[in-house]
C-alpha cells in the first residue's frame, strides 16, 4: 500500500485476483439486484446478462433498463447512459504512467470501473512493471466475471435469493466502502490532502444520502480538487 516497489511474488495475475476479492462483496449483491430489476422491466435473462457483459457500468445499466421500461426515446437513453459514465474519462490517464506499452491494455480498459480504478491506482505503482499487466488482468477479469455472474444469478433466481437471505444482501455491499477506506487511508499524508479528501467524502455522502448518487462522485471530486488548489495557493501566498 505504499509507493515502494514490491513484487507480487508468484504469478502476478493470482495476486490481482486476490486483491480484487473484496470487490465481490459489493459487486455480486448489486449485480443480483440488476438482474432482478432488468427482468422485471421486461428484458429476458440472456438479454440482461448481455447488457452486463458489454456495458459493464453499474449505475448506468440501472438507468438504461429503467428508461427503456418507461418508454423514453432510445437516443435519450444512450445519451444519459454515457453522461453517467463520463466520470470514467479521468481514470485511464491517472493510471497511464504505470501502464506498459503492451497493446492488451487497450482491451483491458473495458474493465476499468470505479472500483477497479481505485484498486489499480493504489496497487500498480507498488508493482514492478513486468507484473502490472498480469495483476490488472487478474483483478479486472475477476471483477467483470463476478458482475456478469451476479447478473445471471439475479436474472434466473434473484427473487428466491433475496427472499431467503435478506440480511446477506444488506451486509455484503459494505465491502465496497471498507475497501475504499483501506485504499484512501494512506493518502491522508498532510493537512492539504486531508482537507481535499475529507471535503470530497462529505459532499458525496450528502449528495448520495439525499437521493443524488449519480451526481455525487463528479461534484464531490471537483469540490475536493478545488479545496486542494485553493488551500495550496493560499499556503504559497503566505510563504
Amino acid at each position: 500500500m505504499s509507493d515502494q516497489v514490491i513484487s507480487a511474488g508468484g504469478r502476478a495475475w493470482v495476486s490481482g485476483v486476490r486483491d480484487a476479492i473484496p470487490l465481490l462483496g459489493g459487486y455480486i449483491p448489486v449485480a443480483i439486484s440488476f438482474g432482478l430489476i432488468a427482468n422485471q422491466a421486461g428484458f429476458s435473462s440472456w438479454e440482461t446478462i448481455f447488457i452486463s457483459l458489454v456495458i459493464y457500468a453499474g449505475a448506468s445499466q440501472f438507468l438504461f433498463v429503467g428508461m427503456v421500461a418507461s418508454g423514453a426515446p432510445l437516443w435519450l437513453v444512450v445519451v444519459m447512459t454515457l453522461l453517467i459514465n463520463a466520470r470514467h474519462l479521468v481514470y485511464a490517464p491517472n493510471l497511464a504512467p504505470w501502464l506498459t506499452g503492451n497493446r492488451w491494455w487497450f482491451w483491458l480498459m473495458h474493465g476499468l470501473t470505479d472500483q477497479v480504478f481505485a484498486l489499480a491506482h493504489t496497487r500498480l505503482p507498488a508493482l514492478p512493471p513486468s507484473e502490472r499487466l498480469g495483476w490488472f488482468t487478474g483483478a479486472m477479469l475477476l471483477a467483470w466475471f463476478s458482475w456478469v455472474g451476479g447478473t445471471a444469478l439475479g436474472a434466473f433466481v434473484g427473487q428466491e435469493l433475496t427472499g431467503r437471505w435478506p440480511l446477506l444482501n444488506d451486509v455484503m455491499p459494505f465491502a465496497l466502502p471498507a475497501l475504499f477506506v483501506v485504499l484512501l487511508a494512506p493518502r491522508f499524508t498532510s493537512w492539504l490532502w486531508a482537507a481535499a479528501l475529507g471535503c470530497a467524502i462529505v459532499v458525496a455522502l450528502l449528495f448520495a444520502a439525499n437521493g443524488l448518487p449519480n451526481m455525487a462522485i463528479p461534484v464531490a471530486a471537483l469540490l475536493g480538487a478545488a479545496v486542494f488548489f485553493v488551500m495550496q495557493s493560499n499556503t504559497r501566498a503566505e510563504v
Binding site: P22, S60, L74, T81, W105, F117, F174, I201, A204
Partner: protein, 115 residues
C-alpha cells in the same frame, strides 16, 4: 429485444469503452512526446489531484447504507472504524475489509435479532 434496442445497447457499450480507452491513448501520447523531447514525462497536476479525490468521492457515496435506518448508519460508522483500526495495525488490504464487513454484519444482525 427489438432491433433498435440492440443498437442502443451496442452504442452505449461502445461509448462507455471509448470513454475508458481514448483518454489512455491521449495520455500515453502526451507522455511519449514529453519523453522524446528530453523532458521528464509527468501527468498534469490537476489530473494527479483528481484521481485520489475521485476515490474519496466514491467512498462518500458508498457510505450511504442500503437500509436507511439509524442502526444501518451506526453499523456503517462502527464497521468503518473497525476497518480503519485493522488497517492501522496490519497495513494490509484483505483483513481490514473482512473485519469491517464482519463488524458491520454483527451490528446489523443484532438489530435483526433484537427487533
Amino acid at each position: 429485444m427489438a432491433g433498435e434496442l440492440w443498437v442502443a445497447v451496442m452504442v452505449a457499450a461502445a461509448g462507455t469503452l471509448l470513454m475508458r480507452l481514448l483518454p489512455l491513448v491521449w495520455m500515453q501520447r502526451r507522455l511519449a512526446r514529453e519523453n522524446s523531447q528530453g523532458g521528464t514525462a509527468a501527468m498534469p497536476r490537476w489530473l494527479g489531484v483528481l484521481g485520489p479525490v475521485m476515490i474519496a468521492a466514491m467512498l462518500g457515496a458508498s457510505l450511504v447504507p442500503t437500509a436507511g435506518t439509524l442502526n444501518a448508519w451506526v453499523a456503517t460508522a462502527v464497521g468503518g472504524s473497525a476497518t480503519l483500526l485493522v488497517w492501522w495495525k496490519t497495513k494490509s488490504l484483505g483483513w481490514p475489509v473482512v473485519s469491517g464487513v464482519v463488524v458491520f454484519g454483527a451490528v446489523r444482525f443484532l438489530n435483526f435479532v433484537v427487533l
